[in-house]
């Protein structure tokens, strides 16, 4: 297996076309029937009638990016006057603000900035853990990829270095649609399907957890979406390292794909429900209230979702397209409770927030750091 520099990704076996077609045909079932099937699976996977959420803040350390994804309105090319890289102190201040309102993690993601070297990342992580200790959920697969390529290092080595410096878990972004034909069209310069999976395999191999996302409504077919789900499920069978699956819809305003009609709410609910049915080994399915709005997110709790995602203090990427839903905690809790569930704050590993803890995070990785 190579997770190496710019070498080929692990060769992908084609997915079973029959299985893919069978799952894709679920899209033709009535919406409510799909909801009922998914709801039953969700209740079995996560019993107790609870819906979890995490208090965190997105910190986008840089918007400089060389990948030119046609669906993105956040990035700026190197040299652009609106390009930025946050200083450690700026990031520290954002963390303190987040902790003051009860955040248990930061989600740290940025553009693919080739001017940032590995020591920037390790230095930043070390600075955070020393001065503003908090769980760092950061650096999605495509960011890890560019660090590895800049240094001609193995991704596994990069993950190891970042983990030693304080990286606690890896977000599932950059997956878009894990079908190379689709990726070639919407994100030609981004890592391919095999590489995305390899990087998550490496992350899980180091004992870090990650999530997996899916951005849909970019002109892909229903078969493509199901193939994506099967890829995630299959890697999960191998590693068990995915905590959650997070589908969301393309928001095209201000991007090169501006004018692409958004996948509708009915399509969204069907997609989350089918995700729950296909990916039977990832316990958590997260709503995307940022793209769907709080009302549909609430309804999605009856279509197989069991997690409301993050109570974001700051969100810059989706809001760059003009889609802008931020929920204060009381509203988020009210929406969960009105849907008939108990709202439970969690850590990144989906364990419940503990009031008795004398450490900044109760996830297994962070507790290990306390022991070390």
């Amino acid at each position: 297996m190579t997770t190496g520099v710019s070498g080929p990704s692990t060769a992908l076996e084609p997915v079973d076309a029959g299985e893919r077609a069978e799952y894709a045909s679920l899209y033709d079932r009535p919406l409510l029937e799909l909801g009922a099937m998914a709801r039953e699976r969700a209740a079995a996977a996560v019993p107790g009638g609870v819906v979890s959420y995490i208090a965190d803040r997105n910190i986008n350390y840089t918007n400089v990016c060389v990948t030119d994804c046609s669906f993105c309105a956040f990035y700026r090319r190197p040299g652009h006057e609106e390009g930025y890289v946050l200083s450690n102190e700026q990031i520290g201040a954002k963390i303190d603000e987040a902790k003051a309102i009860g955040a248990v993690q930061i989600l740290m993601q940025g553009g693919h900035n080739p001017y940032l070297k590995l020591d920037y990342y390790t230095g930043l992580l070390d600075y955070i853990k020393t001065h503003h200790p908090i769980h760092v959920h950061g650096f999605s697969a495509s960011e890890l990829d560019i660090i590895a390529r800049v240094h001609k290092l193995d991704v596994d080595t990069v993950v190891g270095e970042l983990m030693d410096a304080g990286l606690d878990s890896v977000p599932g972004a950059g997956a878009e649609i894990l079908v190379d034909d689709v990726r070639d069209r919407i994100a030609k310069k981004k890592i391919d399907t095999g590489r995305w999976l390899d990087i998550h395999r490496a992350v899980h191999g180091r004992g870090l957890l990650s999530s997996a996302t899916m951005m849909f409504g970019a002109g892909e077919s229903r078969d493509d979406r199901v193939e994506h789900m099967i890829r995630v499920r299959d890697l999960q069978r191998e590693t068990g390292g995915f905590t959650a699956f997070i589908p969301w819809t393309l928001q095209s305003d201000g991007t090169e794909m501006d004018g692409t009609p958004e996948a509708t709410a009915a399509e969204y609910l069907k997609t989350v429900a089918i995700s729950r049915l296909v990916i039977d080994n990832v316990p958590n399915l997260q709503v995307s209230y940022v793209t769907q709005g709080p009302k549909v997110a609430q309804v999605a709790l009856h279509f197989g979702c069991n997690d409301f995602g993050s109570l974001m203090m700051e969100e810059n990427v989706v809001s760059a397209t003009g889609t802008d839903f931020i929920m204060p905690r009381p509203m988020l809790v009210r929406f969960i409770e009105q849907a008939g569930f108990k709202a439970v704050p969690r850590y990144q590993d989906y364990s419940r927030v503990r009031d008795d803890l004398d450490w900044y995070c109760g996830c297994a990785v962070c507790l290990d750091r306390r022991g070390a």
Partner: protein, 383 residues
């Protein structure tokens, strides 16, 4: 046909035991009781409620989802109830800085957009202006009919009709008759709010009382004017208040058969006195509230042919989902909606017909463009 379905079968069986007997009634086509409807509001089994509503709707409307290309005209925001209806941010005092009253020429100029659009309906509602006489409205309707003979006029809520009757010193029946003579085709369902006297005294004290509102609609039905009916939910009312309100509508419908459509309206608190008093803003109602108001409406109001989702108030996403929860009417293109947007609705000001058709098709339904009287028009009329 995207979803083959066995007639009379629920797509989702209820999980909650208290819903089983209700589901049996719905499957058998029987009327549900007050207690049944309250149980439907109180349950967390959203999908079972949706499935019952879907079944009732399919029996009445098949896979059809109606929409009308309409234009809202709000002739004045001056309202003598501006202090009374604490849930509203639209009405203002006559001398308020932002008070406006359109001249008939201004109304016609605004309506002129209909010449270049597929508009089939003018939806005309406004404040209770202390001075505007009945002739202002009859002249307006005549003028609009002359200029746009193919466009239906759905105008004036029961509250406005009663106000005009008071100003003119005539009966409400006289007002409706004169409006009908001028060309009125239908009446909107606004001003119903919640009929419960306790709720009404909290949110709209001194506004037309329940029996008066119902009487105006009774008279309209008797004069051959079809009307809509509404419920404003998501403020201080209880499930029982909502159900009692709907039952009063159901009773009148049994008597007259004149209601075309029931439209639950989600309250928007921003910039309202009630919102400030309750300390609430933003999205007051959740997606479940919105879907249940529609779905329970569909199940309980078994004698009203259509249930409409008002996307301006609940978002286009919820409105589309509602098409699987018993709804067969998607509020059409709305040109220049003002009333809800002054209360903080962040939905678009208008939707184009292509988008409405896409939403309906994507929900697995058949779009049918209609006029105010639910006649198929456009392509649907010849298909």
């Amino acid at each position: 046909m995207i979803y083959p379905r066995i007639e009379g079968e629920l797509s989702v069986r209820p999980q909650a035991p208290e819903l089983i007997s209700i589901a049996e009634k719905v499957e058998a086509g029987e009327r549900i009781s007050r207690e049944d409807a309250i149980a439907l509001f109180e349950t967390d089994d959203l999908l079972a409620v949706g499935s019952m509503a879907d079944l009732v709707n399919r029996r009445l409307n098949g896979d059809r989802v109606y929409y009308v290309a309409n234009q809202h005209i709000n002739p004045t925001n001056v309202c003598i109830l501006n202090k009374v209806c604490v849930f509203c941010s639209y009405g203002v005092r006559p001398l308020a800085e932002d008070a406006y009253t359109m001249s008939l020429e201004e109304v016609y100029a605004e309506a002129d957009a209909a010449r270049h659009s597929p508009t089939r309906e003018f939806h005309i509602v406004g404040g209770l202006h202390p001075k505007l006489p009945l002739s202002y409205y009859t002249d307006m309707i005549r003028g609009l009919k002359e200029r746009h003979p193919h466009v239906h006029v759905k105008a004036l809520t029961a509250v406005e009709i009663a106000h005009l009757a008071r100003i003119e010193g005539v009966t409400t029946r006289d007002v409706i008759r004169e409006l009908k003579d001028a060309g009125l085709d239908a009446m909107p369902g606004g001003g119903a709010e919640v009929f419960s006297p306790a709720v009404r005294s909290t949110i709209a004290d001194r506004k037309l009382a329940a029996d008066e509102w119902l009487q105006v609609h009774r008279e309209a039905h008797e004069l051959g004017i079809p009307t809509n009916c509404t419920l404003l939910y998501g403020h201080v009312e209880s499930s029982a208040d909502r159900v009692d309100h709907m039952l009063m509508l159901r009773d009148l419908q049994d008597e007259t058969g004149g209601f075309s459509t029931f439209i639950p309206l989600a309250w928007h608190p921003d910039n309202t006195a009630l919102g400030r008093e309750m300390g609430v803003e933003g999205n007051r109602t959740g997606g479940l509230d919105d879907l249940k108001a529609l779905a329970v409406g569909r199940i309980l109001l078994d004698n009203i042919p259509h249930i409409k989702t008002h996307w301006i108030m609940v978002t286009t996403k919820v409105s589309q989902i509602a098409l699987s929860f018993g709804v067969d009417d998607l509020e059409g293109t709305v040109v220049l909606e003002k009333v809800t947007h002054t209360a903080g609705a962040d939905t678009p000001l208008g939707l184009d017909l292509d988008e409405i058709v896409r939403l309906i098709r994507d929900a697995g339904k058949t779009p049918v463009e209609r006029d105010s009287l639910y006649n198929a028009v456009g392509e649907a009329a010849v298909a």
